[in-house]
């Protein structure tokens, strides 16, 4: 990805130069692989395009539907925490190749998700990950200085709250269930969904 065309919605105290060189290398590698797969008839250009188009239709609205339901329906919340794949399937969201785990924020625990080894992300619920989630800066810093990183996102938590970082190093994908804010009693699911954003479901922000 070119440095000038990616999403710049984050604090910019880090240098992207290193990431960009790596991106350029893998972009060429990815393109070569794609051309070979097409040439050998393994997949068609049209199939690749269709898959990309489908990917681009997935947004954090999927995750927000799930979280809003968990806020209003205790039984659903229990199902989501017990077996998240089955719970999201109730909304028609199928995740055949990945295992989803829902992490509930509480007054005592704040969860935040990262993938230090690559950029594993619950794409079926949140869409494509933001550029900062894939940056080396976030991936390395949030593990050893989570409170400093959260502070840069405007999230300050008292010492009495446990900050729990989840490094998705294997076959699990993680979705944070943010805490339902006070003063929303009686709100319907539609209204609640509007409060639930991508960053609150990654865990870098609270509501």
């Amino acid at each position: 990805m070119n440095h000038n065309d990616h999403d710049h919605d984050h604090d910019h105290d880090h240098d992207h130069q290193g990431d960009d060189k790596v991106h350029a290398y893998y972009q060429i590698l990815g393109q070569a692989l794609k051309e070979l797969l097409i040439e050998k008839g393994v997949v068609s250009a049209s199939e690749i395009r269709t898959a990309m188009e489908r990917r681009d239709t997935i947004t954090p609205a999927n995750g927000a539907k799930v979280v809003a339901r968990a806020w209003v329906d205790g039984d659903y919340r229990a199902r989501l925490l017990h077996d998240a794949n089955s719970a999201v399937a109730e909304f028609g969201i199928e995740m055949p190749t990945t295992h989803l785990v829902a992490l509930e924020n509480t007054p005592a625990v704040h969860n935040v998700v990262v993938c230090t080894l690559c950029s594993c992300y619950p794409r079926d619920l949140l869409g494509l990950p933001p550029a900062w989630y894939k940056s080396k800066a976030y991936r390395s810093r949030v593990v050893h200085s989570p409170r400093a990183v959260l502070h840069e996102f405007g999230t300050d938590l008292p010492e009495t709250v446990e900050v729990r970082v989840h490094d998705s190093t294997a076959d699990m994908r993680y979705l944070v269930i943010p805490m339902r804010p006070e003063g929303t009693d009686g709100w319907d699911e539609d209204a609640l969904r509007s409060l639930i954003t991508r960053d609150t479901m990654i865990g870098v922000a609270s509501i």
Partner: protein, 98 residues
């Protein structure tokens, strides 16, 4: 499902302090650290052989919690803060609660 797994929730484990070459899903920063199993996640193909299209046997996967102060010598934050990783059983070593 829990009964046939090697570790149970609450077990103390130590991550192997080993540096083999290959497709390793155990981050370097956690090798040699001690933590506690919080959840058995099931059986999964071993990525170390899957990555090379070699025959693989299922490995047990665990969610393991570490205290941040046990992972980073100069951790700045609360003593309560934790980090959790998903680790395959062959990267975990027995009971180190002593």
């Amino acid at each position: 499902m829990m009964t046939c797994s090697r570790y149970r929730s609450g077990d103390r484990v130590r991550v192997r302090d080993d540096y083999p070459i290959g497709h390793i899903r155990t981050p370097v920063y956690i090798r040699g650290c001690e933590g506690q199993v919080v959840r058995y996640l099931g059986h999964f193909g071993n990525p170390e052989t899957l990555a090379f299209c070699l025959p693989t046997e299922p490995r047990e996967l665990y969610k393991v919690q570490f205290r941040q102060v046990d992972v980073w010598p100069n951790y700045e934050g609360s003593l309560m803060d934790t980090v959790e990783l998903d680790l395959y059983d062959h990267w975990l070593e027995g009971d180190h609660s002593q």
